[in-house]
Subunit: 200 residues, 2 copies
């Protein structure tokens, strides 16, 4: 079975189920989809749905879900069978609002802005005397993530110092990861790179 | 192994882990604990912790949880091993606030108020010509839940008509369930019973 972890795509880049030929796709909602933590998306091809073994059981995942007098129970026939317990309702409302925002702006516009920002970062870091690009710059390999290191400063130090200067980033893959979304100003991204360059 | 489902106790009645001799205890947070849906409590006796087979895996449940360069991983030694993915942070803040409120008031006070309300309901319904008590009225069997039926009206009808009159209740166990918490006024509870009596 072919599983696609779409956590770094959904909300950043257009994603077409028909093109990826996945048996199932999942992505947590709190990254590019701008949701709150604790709610993810899961899609499963209806044809293989019953081949996925159930390990979680609860009152929501049954065919008889709101019939409290039912003498027996069965897993729901649709994908509700994978949603065992009471849903994270606050998280669902947050994700509904953030996905609506992304749809309103349009994923083509969002993804063009995300790729414009990573292209800006890639070129800016490639031309920097103190920073070193770690991400693959090949256009078809680009995403919203750009990872780089500093020639004099060790990655955990670099990350810590940037965070102290309120540059929100992550320490990953031997460097620091910048992940600019569509709403980040190019000016702010330039400021963040400048701060990284000026560290000692 | 002895599992205690404490969903109708925690937040309504005092609960002592040492007295119940459970191997594990769980309760959803959205009932008497006044949390939001999608976050539950789970306690497991540390001595049997490793005998519970793991079925859920994720980045949070490992010993190496925030070390992204770790070459291998192991389930956490503590109960974190059962918290696989990103936690429901909004739900955690809601539950933190509601449990703090219950602690501030004190569970002795809360539970005295809950039992006072169920005693009021039991006596009121026992003395009613149109309603019939279904809950066990024995003092040591009491909880926050009081279930009753109507001599002329079928339970689902009774439930529907009460909800239309904004009496929030549940249809369960061959009748309608009232679950008054510490903050429900006795006057309001009397009004709710009166409305049930006046239905036709």
């Amino acid at each position: 079975m072919f599983c696609v972890d779409a956590i770094q795509s959904l909300g950043a880049l257009p994603f077409d189920l028909n093109e990826c030929h996945a048996d199932f796709v999942m992505a947590d909602g709190h990254k590019w989809m701008l949701g709150a933590e604790g709610l993810a998306l899961f899609w499963v091809n209806p044809e293989i749905r019953e081949r996925l073994k159930l390990y979680q059981y609860g009152w929501h995942m049954t065919r008889e879900a709101s019939d409290f007098d039912a003498p027996s129970w069965h897993p729901a026939d649709n994908a509700k069978r994978f949603e065992c317990g009471s849903p994270n309702m606050l998280g669902a409302h947050v994700l509904d609002a953030s996905l609506s925002l992304l749809q309103e702006i349009g994923m083509e516009t969002v993804s063009a802005a995300v790729l414009e920002r990573s292209e800006f970062l890639i070129e800016r870091i490639q031309g920097s005397p103190t920073l070193e690009l770690l991400s693959d710059p090949t256009p078809q390999r680009r995403s919203g993530i750009v990872t780089f290191s500093h020639r004099q400063i060790e990655p955990t130090q670099l990350h810590q110092q940037l965070m102290q200067q309120r540059v929100i980033c992550a320490c990953r893959g031997g460097g620091v990861r910048f992940s600019a979304h569509f709403y980040n100003d190019l000016d702010h991204i330039e400021q963040a790179v400048l701060r990284a360059e000026q560290l000692k």
